[in-house]
Amino acid sequence: MCGIVGLLIKKPGMRSQLGAWMLPMLVGMTERGPDSAGMAVFTEPLGGDRRKYSLYSGTGTFEWGALCRAATTGLGADSTLSVKANHAILETSADPAKVRTWIKAAFPALHVLSAGRAIDLYKDTGRPAEVAERYDFKKLSGTHLVGHTRMATESAVTPAHAHPFTAGEDFCLVHNGSLSNPYSIRRKLEPLGIAFDTDNDTEAACRFLEWRMREGDSLEAALQSGFDELDGFYTFLMGTGNELALVRDAFACKPAVIAETDEYVAISSEFRSLAKLPDIRNAKIFEPKPEEMYVWRAS
């Protein structure tokens, strides 16, 4: 069992409310996922060559100041770093491949959680309310977000196994369910040079869909090939730089409910985590159907 939450703000003027509206949604899914939590938030995209990288240092202390100093010389003087506890966002215009290689060589203890122009990603073990407090989720602002509360069933409870999973740039996926063919997906992708960080089944789905899009598929075409190739139980919620997307497997064993108003689209595993959203009594509430694609675009 796990909980998924998603929120897309329709009115640009309300984007500063994103974190505050989401927080009761995430905490409301604690019973479905008490062991880890994570949140991907999509902001206005950076311009030009600039990219941002969400970095995670794990437990213990990390000398972020050393990274900051090294980045200005190693990646360029325009590199900046903003730190929250064991998490930081590195912003730079250096070449993306160079950034990953440089971090791996100079700071091997760091994990790159996400990369892109719009995505920031936080995930860690602990109860959802603790993780939200640790990274100040209530102050998040942006166009849309994808969150998850985890109750591990098929692989270890570690920060790396927490959701969302990411692949490539500005793409993330969270999952409620379990896949039955993640290893055949891996065996298909690994010879193509696609490397995996964990043995988690969800990572296989994430990397498969991102690979399809990198090969030229639209999000919808990638999701269609996901219906054909991914076997098992799933409700997947995905974020791209400007989209939120939701799909359920043909048997729809894993729940999902959607609430939509003029101001937002909110998605959760269960209504109880939507109950505190503004104007929820007047929201259009419905259950997504199995094997249908639901895609919302940020304006």
Binding site: F251, P255, E270, F271, R272, S273, A275, E287, K289, P290
Partner: protein
């Protein structure tokens, strides 16, 4: 009587109100199980999708839930008349044996699963596996039902005023389905049969009890071909 003290008693021995925004669910369910003492009506405010609201009630009490309920609302119900003024999560009325549950909105998967008796009315749609393994309950769905509804249904009646998804009535036993709209596909061993006068009378009574005004003659009967009742060693064993 601690829970009675905590309930806001509108009129002692007649009505009580529980607000789940401030009172724990267990207080409500304990009251319904042990402390009714003649209470005829219980109102539940701010259900907000909580699980297990009014499960296991065994008394002739009216329960009104003012909003959306989560998993297993009214599960294992006996005697009570439960109205949900909103939608429900999975398994509404699961295992019910008598009484009635009325969902004013839509119901998620497995509505009325394994239930032995009583009446479950869903004004909106019901999701997949509605009436799975039902054993005597009557279910009336005002809207449409999802795939695999009435899977392995043993006894009782499923009335579908809208459409049915794939695999309707797969591996049916003696439950009967009446469907008004289209059927995407029948499950193994389910087929359409002619409506008899007895069917029209029984369906008319159920529609009336459910407060639906459709003409029973506009429905079709779906029942078991009973081909799976006995092992057929000569059948082509392809699964």
């Amino acid at each position: 009587m601690a829970s009675l003290m905590n309930a806001m008693v509108d009129t002692p021995a007649i009505g009580a109100t529980f607000d789940l925004a401030t009172q724990p669910l267990r207080e409500l369910n304990r009251f319904l199980h042990r402390d009714l003492a003649g209470t005829r009506a219980v109102r539940v405010l701010n259900p907000d999708g909580a699980h297990n609201i009014a499960v296991g009630v065994d008394a002739p009490v009216d329960v009104d839930i003012d909003g959306h309920a989560g998993y297993y609302a009214g599960g294992m119900n006996k005697q009570a008349h439960i109205t949900i003024h909103g939608n429900t999560g999975p398994g509404v009325g699961e295992g019910m044996s008598s009484g009635a549950i009325h969902v004013k909105g839509f119901a998620s998967v497995a509505a009325g699963a394994s239930a032995h008796g009583g009446l479950l009315v869903i004004d909106g749609d019901a999701s997949l596996r509605c009436g799975i393994s039902m054993k005597g309950i009557d279910i009336v769905v005002g809207g449409s039902v999802g795939d695999y509804s009435a899977f392995m249904a043993q006894a009782g009646t499923l009335v579908i005023c809208g459409d049915a998804g794939d695999g309707l009535g797969d591996s049916l036993y003696e439950a009967v389905i009446y469907v008004r709209g289209s059927v995407k596909s029948f499950g193994a061993d389910a087929h359409e049969e002619p409506m008899s006068e007895a069917d029209i009378a029984a369906l008319g009574a159920l529609l009336k009890a459910a407060g639906m005004s459709h003409d029973p003659k506009t429905f079709r009967r779906v029942a078991s071909m009973r081909g799976l009742y006995h092992w057929n060693a000569d059948a082509n064993q392809e699964y």
